[in-house]
Amino acid sequence: MKGMTLIVRNVAGLISGFVMMYGLYVVATGHLAPGGGFAGGVIIMAGVVMLVLAFGGDRAKALLDEKRCHVIDASGALVFAVVALLGLFLGGFFKNFLPVGKVHEFFSGGTILISNVAIGVKVAAGLVGIFLALIVATRQVMPKE
């Protein structure tokens, strides 16, 4: 799948860095300001997909093919599940076992920060994977039944 015109490619190259940085910010400050794991993950995904659409799917394939998306996606989900089950052994299911800091500090949410980052990674990787699959799938001709 060939990329787009030169202008689009340059603009995308410039912008996507900032978009992904903003996405990381949204993921990290989930417990202080609106946003959080899911919204931040989607922003990061938008940044990556902008690159993929601008520079064409083939070059993106080399960088981040579906296999790697699978693994990152599943590992994000696994971290979240482990945080839940770990809480189980240190008290109740889903117990927030990390110390709860002062309210407006960065490390105030205990496991909230870890869960947010895990969900952010998971959503970003998963959606990028499905988007790559959808883009590639729409290109090739299916064997007619």
């Binding site: 989930g30 995904m45 909230i112």
Partner: protein, 207 residues
């Protein structure tokens, strides 16, 4: 009262956008109409004091429109206007009418008791409200549960954003389900988009 007027106009805009999306002859304009409905919902979220929802709503809206346009652009739309099969449309409209009348009564239409609290006055208002002097009054035996979430979130979970506190700590089990939903949908996507489902020579003969 102006907030109610804004909300009413925006919800009416959503309904109209929905109708356009359903009845528009050209698919592209239908997709754009749904995009407009999504953005209207995002503005409503902001007006109703829910920035945590407006954020992902806009993003999801953008992705849905991009996916749908991507799907439509590369394909001819061969669907001509199917003849109105009156029976099915009549049945849907009739059921819809009964549903709307019940909804009108349920929203406290004829002043019946025990219905959905009036817009802007949820059960939460009975549990935690500011008295005349502005000092917060928390009911001892609260009717609902969200007053306790608001009061306890900062101290118990340390999260300033109560919604995130609820999502990841109080009701973290829900979010485990939610994370699984995205995971399952993506796996489902891969299943459907595989090039070959069955190995050659083992085709299922349905007929």
């Amino acid at each position: 009262m102006t907030i109610d007027l804004f909300i009413l106009v925006l919800v009416a805009f959503m309904v109209v956008a929905g109708l356009i999306a359903v009845e528009a002859s050209d698919l592209l304009s239908a997709v754009i109409a749904v995009g407009a409905a999504g953005f209207a919902l995002s503005v409503i979220d902001l007006l109703l004091g829910a920035p945590d929802l407006a954020f992902p709503q806009v993003l999801v809206e953008v992705i849905t429109v991009v996916l749908l346009i991507r799907m439509i652009m590369t394909r001819r739309d061969t669907s001509r206007q199917t003849p109105r099969d009156t029976l099915r449309t009549a049945a849907v409209l009739l059921a819809g009418g009964v549903f709307l009348v019940t909804a009108f009564l349920a929203a406290g239409g004829l002043g019946m008791t025990g219905n959905i609290p009036a817009f802007g006055d949820p059960l939460l208002a009975k549990d935690a409200h500011a008295d005349a002097a502005g000092a917060p009054v928390l009911a001892e035996d609260p009717v609902g549960v969200s007053a306790q979430y608001l009061a306890g979130s900062a101290s118990q979970t340390g999260a300033a954003n109560t919604v995130m506190g609820i999502l990841l700590d109080y009701r973290g089990y829900d979010t485990l389900g939610e994370a699984t939903v995205i995971f399952v949908a993506i796996l489902g996507g891969y299943v459907v988009l595989r090039k070959v489902g069955r190995k050659r020579g083992s085709e299922a003969q349905p007929s």
